[in-house]
Amino acid sequence: MNIVKVKEIVINALNNLLTEMPTEQGCEINESTLLLAEGSIIDSLTLVSLIVDIETTFNTDYNIEISLSDDRAMMRDISPFLSVSTLVDYIYELISEK
């Protein structure tokens, strides 16, 4: 799987979540969209849902098992969950190792 596809999966997952949040509809999502930082469009519980959705999509639709919330992710100097871009990079790193 290439990084463009990973980005598509992440952005789709985020867009699906945002449709469930009326106040955030119409918000444009791109690589620089912040996830876990000041100015983020989502709160921490919504981030949890995003993580679950992405893991489930990879597992169910692509038969790729990834864990985004283990120690490896938590111990990084720069959190993978900072933005769409950092998350995409991290996921691509994980699946490239498989």
């Binding site: 469930e20 519980l45 919504t46 949890v48 849902s49 679950v52 489930t56 597992n59 169910t60």
Partner: protein, 237 residues
């Protein structure tokens, strides 16, 4: 009443779990039953999985299968429990580990993995079966009481985490119910239990309908505003 609802029940082969599973099947639900042993229910809408809930990895693996096969879960009844009544200083380690794994960790994992499925339909009811031990804290049941108190808190915290997903989490704490688990107690312990029951506001052991009544209430679609609640039977508070 439960037509088209998919309900997962742990400890479904006997006791409370069996009665609850049978009740839901009678009311047209699809029931996924988990227990250590083989199925004791013969019904076209009943799907049994034999699993040792003391092994967390088995639970994770099982949910991969459940997710593929069933696509959704509407209601979870975390009923399975193991009990070794023994004073703390002489409680064997293996029994202690099994109690924590089955009575607390398995409840956490099953609730968590079920919630992942429930959130897809923005609907869910998680009901933990707890015990009067969590409130009365009887000597000889330190770890059992701690685990049951633990699942009380677990439901309350999960209620907060899952509220935006329209998943409610509640707890039914049972006094005593005529079951194998009750018979497991030593004769001394059974005398103590009888004494406790005698001093309850309603001095009798729980009957099947007492339990099903509360489960119906927590499970109901009308109970979407009921979450993080613990109902103790018999008048314990």
């Amino acid at each position: 009443m439960y037509l088209k609802k998919t309900i997962l029940i742990t400890g479904s082969s006997r006791g409370i779990g069996f009665e609850v599973a049978y009740y839901f099947l009678k009311n047209n639900a699809i029931v996924i039953g988990l227990s250590k042993g083989d199925s004791t229910i013969d019904n076209a809408n009943y799907y049994h999985y034999s699993i040792d809930l003391s092994k967390p990895e088995k639970i994770i693996d099982l949910f991969k299968e459940i997710t593929k096969h069933f696509k959704k879960i509407d209601i979870v009844i975390n009923n399975a429990a193991v009990l070794t009544s023994q004073y703390s200083m002489i409680l064997p380690l293996k029994n202690a580990i099994d109690m924590v794994n089955v009575n607390l960790l398995a409840v956490f994992l099953i609730s968590r993995e079920s919630a992942k499925l429930m959130r897809k339909n923005s609907y869910g009811r998680i009901i933990n079966i707890s015990s009067m031990a969590a409130s009365l804290e009887p000597a000889g049941d330190s770890l059992y009481a701690a685990c049951k108190a633990g699942i009380n808190s677990l439901a309350n915290v999960m209620a907060k985490e899952f509220s935006t997903l329209n998943i409610t989490c509640n707890t039914l704490a049972i006094t005593a119910f005529e079951s194998d688990m009750l018979k497991q107690h030593s004769s001394t312990a059974q005398v103590k239990i009888k004494e406790i029951i005698k001093n309850l506001p309603i001095p009798r052991i729980a009957e099947k309908d007492d339990i099903l009544n509360v489960i119906d209430f927590f499970s109901s679609e009308r109970s979407s505003y009921i979450t993080a609640q613990i109902i103790y039977l018999g008048g314990i508070n």
